[in-house]
């Protein structure tokens, strides 16, 4: 399951996608919009993507993770469009017979996705200001 969606992410489906009778460890990472960054209050985020390339890169990440870590399955769902505070923008699932590999792969996947997949977020503050976030975290 490698998808870009425009409405709420079904996190239970992402988890179910990586669970199997041979994967004793299933890991689900969910990233969502924080309301507060220090003193600043976020109203919502707007995400956009280079759709065809983003899907291609996410599929490549899944394959790289499966070759570099002892894992069996990867699911990645990214939401675009408007995402309100507290809602999930990204869900990553990893299934593995080895729990340590699942943690390592999950951590690597979200780190690498944030660096390599052509998706951008625009931060809309409650102050009325907004800006594209163009710095890698």
């Amino acid at each position: 399951m490698i998808e870009i969606v425009e409405s709420a992410i079904d996190t239970a489906a992402v988890l179910a996608d990586v669970q199997s009778e041979t994967s004793g460890a299933a890991l689900l990472f969910v990233g969502s919009t924080r309301r507060f960054t220090g003193e600043l209050e976020t109203e919502r985020l707007d995400y956009e993507c280079y759709n065809e390339m983003a899907i291609k890169k996410m599929k490549e990440l899944a394959e790289r993770a499966k070759s570099e870590f002892e894992i069996e399955s990867v699911a990645i769902v990214h939401r675009i469009g408007t995402v309100e505070t507290g809602e999930a923008s990204i869900a990553i699932g990893v299934g593995s017979p080895h729990r340590k590999a699942a943690f390592e792969a999950g951590n690597w996947l979200i780190d690498t996705l944030k660096k390599e997949v052509p998706i951008w977020k625009r931060e809309n503050w409650t102050s009325g200001q907004s800006e594209w976030v163009h710095q890698s975290q």
């Binding site: 990233g31 390339m53 983003a54 996705l113 944030k114 997949v117 951008w120 977020k121």
Partner: protein
């Protein structure tokens, strides 16, 4: 030759367009395209310097030679997740 340039996020906003047809000399590279864009849209220059470019949905370097009707992505620093 003519390449199809796709713009995203701040690049799209600054240029006021999400797509451009750009005429370049034969054997022009990504570096040449960046120079052309910076000359024609000085307000894009800072962002060009921070961005990467893609041809056919693959990241490429400045030396990459373009071809007629190539799809080129102007990729500002990404912020997904």
């Amino acid at each position: 030759m003519i390449v199809k340039l796709l713009l995203f996020a701040a690049a799209k906003e600054i240029a006021g367009a999400e797509q451009m047809e750009v005429s370049l000399d034969d054997e022009a590279t990504i570096g040449d395209l960046k120079q052309f864009l910076a000359d024609k849209h000085p307000s894009l220059k800072d962002l060009i310097d921070k961005s990467t470019f893609a041809v056919d949905q693959e990241y490429v370097r400045d030396e990459k030679v373009l071809y007629h009707e190539a799809e080129v992505g102007f990729i500002p620093p990404v912020s997904g997740g």
